[in-house]
Structures are given as C-alpha cells and as structure tokens.
Subunit: 273 residues, 2 copies
C-alpha cells in the first residue's frame, strides 16, 4: 500500500476529530482535583510518575473511535499497550503527555497522536486543550491553530548556539537523563542563551513555531516521540536521537530537535564531546 | 493614614485597570519576534537575563497612569527604578516577570503589581494576559479570574510533604540558588511527590489555586516578591523567607510559600537541615 495525499488528508481530519473527543475527557478533569495514582516504579524512571483518570479515559475514547473507523489499524497507547493491526498503519497515542504538569495545574501537558506507516510516522498531532492550541504535521508541512487562527509553522532561523533558546523537561540526573546525559545536557545549556524546563512535548510545538531553538531529552518512549518528527520536520527543523539517527533507533529514548541543520550539528557535537 | 476597606477597594479597581493597559504592551509582543537585549551581567546572577521592549513599554504605561491618578504615591519598578512618593503608599511593579519564558513563547510570564502601605504589601496582582488569567489579593482574600469566571482562591489542604507538589524556577546552582541553596532545594524536592520548574511568579498563583503545594526560590528582588504575599496569604497559604521571616527581611531574596502552616514548617526545617 502506497501513501497518497488523499489518504493523509483523510487521516489528518480523523486525527483532529479524535483529539476533539479526547479533550472532553482531559479538559474537564484539569484543575479539578483529579485522582492521581502511582505507576509501578521501574529502574529507568524511579521518580513518581502520575497517571490520571484523564489519561485512561482519553485513550479509551480514542481507541474506541479508531477501532470503529479503521478496524485494520494497529494501536499503541501509553495506558493500554499494543493492539496489533492488519496492515501497514499504526496509531501511537499519549493521551496526556506531561502528566506532572497536569497535576500541578500547568497547561504544558498535551495529547499526542501519531500515525505510522510501516513504522515511519507520517502524521503527528500535539493538542493543548486548555490553551486551545493544536499542531498537526503531515506531508512535510506543519500547521498551528490557536482559537480561530491557523498559521503555517516555521522554525527560527537560528544557527548560532550562543543565541539559542534550549529546553528539556528535567535536567536532574535522577529524573530522565542519568549522570552522563545530565552532564552532556549541562554542557549544551551552558552554550545557549536561555534555558527552560518542564515543558514535555509542548517544547517541540514551540520549536515548530520558532519560539525555542533546541530541545534535548532522554528517556522518551515510543508514545512520547512518535508525533514529534512530522511536526518538527514539517516546520523546517531537524530531529534525531543523540547519535544523529532516526528517533527510536536507540533504546535510551534520546531526542535532539533543532531549528536548523547547522544548529542541530553543533548541538549534536556538544552532546557527544 | 489608616487603611480602610473602601480605599483598598478603590486601589484594587485601579490595579485591574493598569494591568489591562499593560496587556496592550505585553500581549502584542508575545510570540512576535520581540527584540531581546541583554542586561549587565552581575555577580549574583551571571546567566543571561533578557529584558524586552514589552517590559519597558508596559512599565512606562503603568507609571504614567499612577502618576496621573495618584501623584503622591511612590513607584518602584524593575525597569525604571524608584520614584519617591509623598506619603505611605508605594506601587511595586514587575511588568514582565519571567522574561525567559516570554522569549521562549511560554505563557508562564506574568505582570506583577503590588501596593505597599508603609512598606507592607496590602494588595497583590498577578496577570497572565495570553491565558486571560488574573489573581488579585486584598483584605485577606484572593480571587482568580479566568475569562468570564471568577473564583475565590483556596490553597490545597496538603500537610504531608510526601504528597506535595513543589516548584522552583531553576534548580541549578549557577542560576539563582548558589551551591548551598541548590542542595537545600534538592533535599526538599526529594521529599516531595512532583517537582516543576520554570514558572516564575506564576507558580505562586497555582499555589493559591490549590494546584501546587510548595514554592521555594532564592534571588528574588523587591519587584519579584512584593505581589506574592497578599495573594498567597489571602488564599490561606503561608509565605516567608527561608528563615521563617517576612519576605524581604534578608538580602538573598529567598521565598518559601506553602499551602498550609504545617507544610510550611516541614519545608522550612528541611531547607535548614
């Protein structure tokens, strides 16, 4: 099965509808005393990782709609794991990325929806319901909608690291990075002009808007990063792991996104010094 | 001159009007390629500290209105320093708190307006124009408005540190804390359930809404903290420096806000271990 523009258009419209449906489940529970329960602690992420009712209910609604409309498509979701499909298409879902932000009342959490074709993401969507902000990347083009206004995304033209704005979710070694990666990130941050934390996937959306120039993270899972490449690349940015390979090529969940190829190359070399 | 409820009411209405006027100057420049210039690097804060056109123009507009309406009132502002008044009243302004967030396109920056009576803040206002969110604290009561909805603020009832959500702007020693304070904060963060960064004064607003339980910072200046106490205390929270004294009693700009007296006491003892 080959990819047609019409197919991608159809899947894009469907992605918008399922993220609308997810909003009903997430937004009503934001800043509303939602119950927080702990996930099992694993060796790779020993900090408390809250998972909310919003997370579960939103994924349930999205899966139900995919199953009804595209019964042959696979689904991989943060909350309910993998449902094998029958063909090349697979949806990858993170109903509430940034659950820590969610439970702290910060509107930096997002709903992430990706569509992969033979394991390559061809469509990515980032949705922030409280702000009514939504990014969608398809066919090499990314768009951002805020309220009634839609604009084409374009990364900043920044190539000089000393003027760059860099983001990561948590710089502490005990959270996502481990000691070596935390030191590598600190080296990178020291070369940049401004550093911001705690934004999760929302940071990649800001990169696509030209507001942030570099995002460097580790410890991302499939559902955390699948939606990112179509949006970042569709806005003119570059995104790879910390070895310059396609996202998901390593098992450390490393991501390095940059506004321009030159900035990406510089950041990559600093991380690997 | 003594404080009457009617006076505070009048000043509160005036604070709302000047923050509306400031919005015109800040919001139009947010995510809009605003020029960023560097402040002189000082020994206490060696990281790049951007100051924007928004910052200067918003303070100019607010000062102009104060001068016209209350010519006897003093004004202390981040951008244009101190204008001595003739009497007990002084406005303390930070037109764009969180300029790093501003230049990264993150809606965590705020406009801070405080009114002091004989050096004690009696009114505090936190405004986030992009989100249309505004906190005002007066007369021992804090209110939060989002769009058309206004609610009375109430901190969470959290007393157990192990369930607390804690925030600070930047945990790195080189940014605000210095080595000793960074270690003290790390001890505190390790006892809490969730940690968030990069929110500046917006974090105290979330504390007043019951969404965050502790905020601990250092390196705050007069214009950074003057608006905080009326809002935090008016919502039932406690805010002091790291020795349990009134904000501004030390020259290290330390602030520790907590949802309840018990939680504040626990956090204070961890910071001072």
């Amino acid at each position: 099965m080959s990819l047609s523009a019409q197919q991608i258009e159809e899947f894009g419209e469907f992605a918008l509808r399922i993220s609308d449906a997810a909003r009903v489940e997430t937004l009503g529970r934001f800043r509303n005393g939602v119950a927080v329960s702990g996930k099992p602690v694993t060796s790779s992420n020993s900090e408390f990782d809250p998972v909310t009712e919003a997370d579960r209910e939103a994924e349930r609604v999205i899966r139900e709609r995919i199953g009804r409309t595209y019964p042959n498509h696979g689904v991989i979701g943060e909350e309910f794991g993998e449902t094998k499909g029958n063909g090349p298409w697979c949806w990858v879902l993170d109903p509430v990325d940034g659950t820590r932000g969610f439970v702290c009342g910060v509107a930096s959490w997002t709903t992430l929806i990706a569509l992969e074709h033979e394991n390559i993401p061809v469509l990515g969507l980032i949705d922030q319901p409280y702000l009514d902000e939504r990014w969608i990347g398809t066919k090499g083009q990314s768009k951002f909608r805020h309220g009634a206004v839609t604009v084409k995304c374009q990364t900043s033209g920044v190539t000089d690291i000393s003027t760059a704005r860099v983001a990561t979710t948590d710089p502490r070694p005990e959270s996502y990075f481990g000691e070596a990666s935390a030191h590598a990130f600190a080296r990178l941050a020291n070369e940049c002009r401004v550093v911001r934390f705690s934004m999760d996937a929302y940071a990649y959306g800001l990169l696509a808007l030209g507001e942030i120039d570099i995002v460097a993270e580790a410890g991302l899972k499939h559902h955390d990063y699948a939606a990112l490449a179509p949006i970042v690349e569709g806005a003119g940015g570059v995104i790879t792991n910390w070895r310059g390979e396609r996202l998901g090529s390593d098992d450390r969940g490393e991501a390095l996104a940059a506004a321009t190829p030159a900035l990406h190359e510089t950041a990559l070399s600093i991380l690997n010094q």
